[in-house]
Every structure is written in C-alpha cells, then in structure tokens.
Symmetry: C2
C-alpha cells in the first residue's frame, strides 16, 4: 500500500503546486442558480452540486481538497450525505482528500474516530469504510495515547493525519504559546516534538511522514521554528488569504524542492462572487481565476519545478 505522504507529495509534484482548496458548505453564500425547490429538502443535492462544479474546475489544477466537517455537520444527515458525496467526487477526480475534523478522544474511542474517517468499521465479519478520506486533522490535547490509535490506523490503511500544533487564530496564543517551566519553550514546541516522534515510522520515499502538522500561515516566525523541529512532517497551512497569511509568510515552510507543506484556502476560492444571481459559467470562471491566482502567488516564493 502506498504511503500517504508520498501520495500527497506526488500529487503536488504532478500539479506543480501545493494549493489545497477548502470546501466549506454555507448554503447562504451559494449562488441562486443552485437553489431549485425547497432548500431544506434539497440541501444534500445543492451542496453536492456546488462542490461538483468547484471540483470540475480545480481537479486538473491542484493536488488536494480539504472538507471542513463542521459546515457539513450543521446540516445534519443531509450534510453528512453531502460530505460523503463530496469525498467520492473528489476521489473520482484523483484529488487527495483531507477532511478537517479536528477529532480526538481516548483509547478505543480514538480508534473509532480513526476508523470512521481513515479505516473501516466491523459489521459482523465485513469491514466497511464510513467517510473514506485520505487524511484528517487531529487535536493533541489528550496526549500521546490518544494520537497513537490514529497513527496505527494510518499505518494499516496507508492514510495520514495532520495534528494541530499552532493554529491560525489569535486565540492560539492562549494555551499553545504558553512557555513551559520544564523547557522554557512554548507548549506548541512540545506538541511538535511529539508529532516528529510519532511520525518516524511512517516516513515515505520522499523523506516525509504521513503524520503531519497544522501550522497557521498567520504566525510566520513560529512556522520557521516549527519547520526546524519537524523536518520530516508535512505542514498543512491554513490562514492564507482571508485570514491574512501571505505567500511570503509561508515560504519558510517549504524545502529546496518546494515540498514539505500544503497551503489551504477556502472562502477566497469557493465564494468568489458577490452577486447571488451570478450564472454558472461566470461562477466557474471566477473559481478558476481565484485558483490560478493562488497558484501564481505561491509560485513566486517557490522553485519553478516543484518536487523534481
């Protein structure tokens, strides 16, 4: 079975960029042309159609998409059906599928979460996947024994995780930045060291591990330090664009080949319109432009032949 990190970085090399398009369904921001019939009854279909349009535009251009689970969950069973449909549509288009769930729990419960998104659940003797992602985000607050079940499932099924280390929001300072008495360094560095250690058994041919880290684009100095502490862990970088992170801010996260990090943008790409009465063609054109803009912007700080 192929290592997740290799699969992601091969996709980055093939597409020549590290852009991750974030899919955050918000019915109120979607164009009118999608909204036929009763919105509640049609929610799963509307969200699925919206993402199919976007995927058709971005799949030839970018290596991966990131689905934000919260925005699906808010729509209940319809939202969860749309989550599953969108995962399927993205996989059919050979995109790497990251589901941003920020889950975690203790022991056998952590295993259940890992199985829900990366592994399989047992129905008698049948083992069947639920939400079949390539990779999810995981929260570290519960400690090492809560993270190990995810690493085990990643190893078994060739999947990946990104563990939250330093998040992009201002409130990440409240706990993550607290300096520890024992080390004098911030908490996020201790988390980073654990990510580096947990990831060692899952390093692939390209020198990176299937256990990665979430590091916000909004904290450039911290990102440089974290790049040093986690030399073999891929960084998933939110906070570019709408949250204020720039290409220059994330440049430090990449290696000399332009690998080692992927940068996500959601609203900036998938809600490019102001007028809800925009046509389908015009909407697709704007999504294309925004995606190309981000690829171009990131390329200004990276080598011309990424991953070669």
């Amino acid at each position: 079975m192929q290592n997740f990190a290799d699969r992601l970085l091969d996709a980055v090399a093939a597409k020549g960029n590290s852009v991750v398009v974030g899919l955050d369904p918000r019915l109120e921001m979607m164009p009118d042309f999608l909204k036929r019939g009763n919105i509640q009854d049609q929610a799963a279909a509307i969200i699925t159609s919206f993402h199919k349009l976007i995927l058709d535009v971005v799949a030839p251009l970018v290596p991966a998409v990131k689905l934000q689970s919260a925005f699906y969950e808010q729509y209940g069973l319809a939202g969860m059906a749309a989550l599953q449909n969108t995962i399927d549509l993205a996989r059919e288009r050979n995109l790497v599928v990251i589901v941003d769930v920020k889950r975690n729990d203790i022991s056998s419960t952590a295993t259940a979460y890992a199985n829900a998104f990366l592994g399989r659940a047992a129905y008698g003797t049948d083992l069947i996947p639920a939400f079949d992602a390539d990779c999810i985000t995981v929260s570290p607050y519960l400690g090492r024994d809560s993270l190990e079940p995810f690493v085990e499932v990643c190893s078994r099924y060739g999947r990946g995780i990104f563990i939250l280390v330093k998040t992009s929001n201002p409130g990440s300072r409240d706990f993550q930045d607290e300096k520890l008495l024992r080390t004098g360094a911030p908490l996020y560095e201790l988390v980073a060291e654990m990510v580096a250690d947990l990831g060692q058994p899952l390093v692939g041919h390209r020198g990176y591990s299937s256990v990665g880290a979430v590091v916000g684009a909004t904290f450039s100095a911290e990102a440089s330090r974290l790049r040093e502490l986690m030399p073999r862990n891929i960084l998933l970088i939110p906070g570019y664009g709408a949250q204020g992170g720039t290409a220059q801010d994330v440049a430090c996260c990449f290696d000399a080949q332009g690998l080692g990090a992927v940068v996500s943008s959601s609203r900036g790409i998938t809600y490019p319109h102001r007028d809800p009465s925009i046509t389908e063609d015009e909407f697709s054109r704007l999504v294309l432009n925004r995606t190309q803009d981000m690829i171009r912007d990131l390329s200004t700080v990276l080598p011309t032949a990424v991953g070669r």
Copy 2:
C-alpha cells in the same frame, strides 16, 4: 428559556443521583437477539433498538445520557441516523442529552459546530436544528476565541458545554499536566480558569453555570484542586468503573447538597453481558442491576437527599 445547568441539576435532584449512562454503539458487543437480517443494511435500526431498550430501563432512574459520537460516526450515515434517533428517543423520555463530540475549530467554524449540536442552521429563512443535543463536550486547545462561539450559542438556545480540562486517560499527563513558566501551575489549571471565566454569564438559579468542565475520575487529587478553581462549573466525570475511578475518587467533586458534578459510565452499564445469546429480558435486567449498583455506589459518598 431555561438555563441548561438548572435543567441538568433539577433532573439530578428529581432522580436523586448524578449518574450519566454512556451510549457507545459497538455492533460487535451487542446481543444476538438484535441482529436480524444483514448487519450493514440494518445498522441504524440495530443501534436504535439497542439504545431504545437501554433508555426504557434507565430513563426512570437517571438524569442524563451521554452519546459518544465516535462510535456512531464509524458507521457512516447509518451511524449518524442512529445518533439522531437516539437523541430523539432520549429527549422523548425527558433525559438530558449530552453528546460527547470533543469538537472545536476557529471562529465561524466553531459557530458551525455549535449550531450542528446546540443551535440551528439556516436554510434560506428557516432555522433548523441538526443533531439536537442539550449539551456537548468541547476541546480547548485552540483558545478562548474558539470557545466563545459555543458559549454564545448556549446562551441563545439554553444549552450547555463541558470543556475538556483534565481527561481521564494516562496520556492526559503529556500536555495537560505540563507546568507553565508564567504561573508554576499545570496547563489544566489555566484552562480551568478560562472555563470559570467563560461560564460566569451563564450561571443559573442553582448557582452553577451552563459552561462545565470534563475532569477524569482517575485523577482524584487534581479533581479536588479543579473543584476549587471552578466553584460554579458542573464537572462531567468520565473514567468511573471500567477505567478505574471509584465513588471515593469522585466524592470531592460534589458540593454539600450532592450537586456540582455528574458521573458517566458506559461499558459497565450498557454491555453487562458476556454471552451474546442472552435474551432481551435478561439483558434489560442486567442493565437495570448495573445502573442501580452505580446509583447505590455513588450514594455512599453523597448526602441522602441530593439537591434538596
């Protein structure tokens, strides 16, 4: 609209105990009499029937149930349908419904999670709940601005949250117990102080807030200290029974009226059998016995007239 903390503590006073029955669906541990037909096709029905049986036994006895989301999510859409069905069945029986999701994210994404479980999502001008819980668990790693959206939704809809402070697993030592340079105290105390502060606006008539804390039964000394730091926050205490926590370990979490904490047990109550060919009547009888045992056990360390 009634305050969540008052609603929970009124239920505790009415039932005369603080037992929370944990519902963790694991098909492989359920009795054979539930498994008619193809297990995968019937998963939602099997899980729902299993929980209906348990709820019929425990609803007259205990104030609340806690659904562990991970075990539902592993069964995909069938599991999510079972989650929704189980929430409905518990509410119909006037149980307080805690859904243990340990979610969190930044800003508008945190709001989407809060709306998914405690509030409502917008479909055009209609506002509709997704998974309609009374209360959920929330992870603190992302800091104050990630917690505030949950508090806002709790305030608007009369709901509650329990924020992870000191979890019951051994790995909770890895980050939660790290002493901070600034204070010399462990990280979990800083989290506790934030919980106390966030909860102030939501204190009800009984003197407790709808913003509570998760504190493991397995760390009794830490629980005493946390009780002091969070005098107005209800503690949700996992780790009793199967994980090793005893009634004596959790006694320090209650006030002189026997209020201020609720104690959850899952496997110990809902999987009381060894033989999968157990009959329905025998299964119900064992669940009843285990529930009564736990109520009796906790009563040995509490006042005889809880909440009066």
